[in-house]
Amino acid sequence: MIEINLQLLCFMAAALLVVIGLGGMLFLDNIIKKIIAFTLLSDGVNLALVTLGYVEGGIVSILEPGTSAGAFPENAVLIFGPGIVLTNIVIGVSTTAVLVAVTMVLYRRYGTLKASKVLKGERK
């Protein structure tokens, strides 16, 4: 039996989010729900990237007064994952905005949010 620590747990949660998002994007019909599923998928990827850098019993990668500067490099968490995720979260907002804008235009044109009807190309 593997002992479950925080890193293992978060990897499981990330895999769960990726699969839920993938399933939602593939099998749901509503376009808005596809967008929500897309955000879930990107959340899962973000979580996996952050979990990669976690150090068991480590410290936050901000040098705080009163701590030892010599012990900082060994104990601080890996910073490369969070650095990418920080930009990814904010860029995720704008990509979601683009998707919603396209959805509004599609709704004006086809009068429906169903992807199956939009793909058939029936005008309103």
Binding site: L8, F11, V19, L22, P65, P73, L86, S94, A101
Partner: protein, 291 residues
Amino acid sequence: MDSKGLKGSRGIIAVIALMIIFVGVSTSLLQLNGNVARGISPEYNELAPYEAPNNLASWVYDYRGFDTLIETGVIYVGALVSVLAIGRGIVRVKGVEGDAPVAPSSMEFNVSTLNVILKYFGVPVIILLVAYALLVLTGAATSGGGGFQCGVIFSSAYLLGMIFYGRKNPLNLSKKFLIAIGGVGWSIYALLGLPGYLTTGYWQYNVGADLWTSGVIPGVDGMAAVVPDILRQLFGDPFRLLLVMSDGTYASTAGIVPLINIGEAFNVIGAICLIFLVFVYGWNDEEEKSR
């Protein structure tokens, strides 16, 4: 795929396929558990705090400065595409000539149904949110925070005012102001690379940390200061910090990282607030004049 088509055998197949994907993804992720080599990270961790105590800030804006500059372009492309998709009256695409251009129906939130307390406490909340955004921005190099966070908090304050007060938003940002602030932020960020390029040949080299005040990093022999002494005596060290550690006191300077943070914050504010403005009010010049 239609959701009704998923009843019966096809649904079972879909569920099985998702479970197979879950097993594959989770096993490949679990192999990474505890096996990631720290690699070059301790080296970075050793040097980064002397630049800015917040490791993330010095990594995002100093080591990855140019990449982050290009990545913020993605936010701008998002804002641009939203404007083009919603206010399609501006650009006529040939294939969709037959359609009437999408008339941006302006969405006015119903203010009268709001709770009175909510309505009168909206302004203090918005002012405090803006002040909090500025705190996060100024504390970027030394504690948690940064330009991205400041922009996100500010635009959430803008959205809050839009929902509470509709068109009488106390935080009145016009289209011109948003475009201007975005352009100013973008040019601050890009042009801050120029001094480093002129002195060292690398774009966005952190001039302030190394060349402006050399020799502040203990143990590392700094090169001679390129900047003449007169300039340094005039302006001092604007971002010099004193780190009081358990094993001594060190001086560090963040250099141009706080300035880049300001540019980045302007960038994000311009792009995301523009997205919200276009989403709620559309892109119409007549409406802008009547405001």
